[in-house]
Each structure stands twice: as structure tokens, then as C-alpha cells.
Amino acid sequence: MIPISHVFVLSGLLFSVGLLGILVRRNVLLILLSVEIMLNAASLSFIAGSSLHGEVQGQISAFFVMVIAAAEVTIGLAVAVLLFREKGAVDTNEIRWLKG
């Protein structure tokens, strides 16, 4: 039997790695990938909680997290493509000046 607290530690580690990636990387695509890591860490902890309490509800929450991640990725990638088309760059240092 897997110790559940270790699963929570793994989920926390993954979340911290994703947070670090968002703070450190400057490529928009890699920032989106780091968001994916964080979402996955959250859904891993949902599934660990489901296994801890013997309920299926946690797995359903993980399912919803997945749907939201899919929607988020579609819009994020569209924005990244648009940025690349307009400015020719996806580096956050080069897209400092926004209008409006």
C-alpha cells in the first residue's frame, strides 16, 4: 500500500516546480506548460484524497480539472499564436508594451 502522505508530498513538489517554472521562464509557451504541471499536481492531490477517504468524488473533481485545463490551453495557445504573429516574439521581456 502506498503511503498517502508521500503522494501529497509528490503533489506539493510538482506544484512548486510548476510555480518555479512560471516565475523563472520567460517563454510564453513554457509558462503555459508550467501551468499544466501545476494543474496536474492539483488533480493528483484530488485523486490521493479520493483514495484516502475511499470516495469517488475526488476522481470526478480531477476530471473537471482536466476539462478546465483543456479549455485554458486552447485560449492560451491562441493568444500565444497571436502574440507571435503580431510581435514576432514570445519572450515576455520583449512584449512589455501593451496597448489600451
Binding site: S50, S51, L77
Partner: protein
């Protein structure tokens, strides 16, 4: 055996995630993330969530990350090597590492103060998940379909070239 598999695949997932935030080419970061996703799916199965693991593989490794792959390979967004100096935001790295590690330490501290009951373990048969999803969680389920529809609209509206 189960425990060994868990530790092995959690190591794979962690190494993959670390590669994502350190490697120089976006395409390699993406492939490392796909490896991490597969490892996570194995961990889901070990935790008794076989259905979620399969959906995870189909949606993430099959759809989301392939979408990323298309964007990187077809549009050429950041397909070049990024030199290490441009990869990380200089002196900002120390501050970010501090934020990341202190966040992790906080999580571990919270986890240490809460006593966990012994795990009951769960089998997540598809029948149970399906009936819960279409009975108790019908409204959120329908709302997610509206969310996905709006995502499609937004993506089309954003990516469409302006007509003259």
C-alpha cells in the same frame, strides 16, 4: 512491487517536470512533459483511478500536448535554442527559488500538522463515476460543455486572420 512502482514513477514525473523548466529547447520541454504525464497516469492507476488515468492520457498526451506540438512545429514559436542567459530571468532566479522552496516548505508544514487517517483505498469503476457524473454532478458537467464551447469560440475568434 506497488510501492516500488510508485517511487519509480514519481521520480520520473519529478525529473520530467524539472526538465520542463530547465531545458533549452521548447520542444524538448514538451517531450519531457509528455513523459511526466505518462508517469502520472501510472500513479493514478496505482491509486485506484483507472478511468481518470485513461482520460488523462487521452486528453493530455493525446490532445493538449499534441496541440502544443503543432503550435511549436508549425508556427515555429520559440523553436530555436534559448541561451541560458536569456532562459532564466537573471537575479530573479534566486528570488523565485526562494518563493518556490518556501511554498513547498509551507505545504509540508501543513501536511505535518494534519494527522492523516489510514487510507481506505478506492476502486473507481466506470459505472460509479458515470452514474455520479450524470446524476449528482449533472449541472457542473453540462456547464463544462458550455465552457468548452466558449473555449472553441474564443480560440477561433483570436486565431482568425483579420479580413480586409
Amino acid at each position: 512491487m506497488e510501492t516500488f512502482l510508485f517511487y519509480f514513477f514519481s521520480a520520473v514525473a519529478l525529473i520530467g517536470a524539472t526538465f520542463v523548466i530547465t531545458v533549452s529547447r521548447p520542444i524538448r520541454a514538451l517531450l519531457a512533459l509528455i513523459a511526466a504525464m505518462f508517469a502520472l497516469a501510472v500513479i493514478y492507476i496505482l491509486l485506484g483511478a483507472a478511468f481518470v488515468a485513461m482520460v488523462h492520457l487521452i486528453v493530455y498526451a493525446g490532445a493538449v500536448l499534441v496541440l502544443f506540438l503543432f503550435v511549436i512545429m508549425l508556427q515555429g514559436i520559440g523553436a530555436r535554442d534559448i541561451p541560458a542567459r536569456a532562459r532564466f530571468a537573471g537575479g530573479f532566479l534566486a528570488l523565485s527559488t526562494f518563493v518556490g522552496t518556501s511554498f513547498f516548505a509551507g505545504l509540508i508544514f501543513i501536511l505535518g500538522t494534519v494527522p492523516l487517517p489510514p487510507a481506505k483505498g478506492v476502486e473507481g469503476p466506470v459505472e460509479t463515476i458515470g452514474s455520479l457524473l450524470f446524476q449528482n454532478y449533472l449541472l457542473p458537467f453540462e456547464l463544462t460543455s458550455i465552457l468548452l464551447l466558449l473555449g472553441v469560440f474564443a480560440a477561433i475568434a483570436l486565431a482568425k486572420k483579420d479580413e480586409p
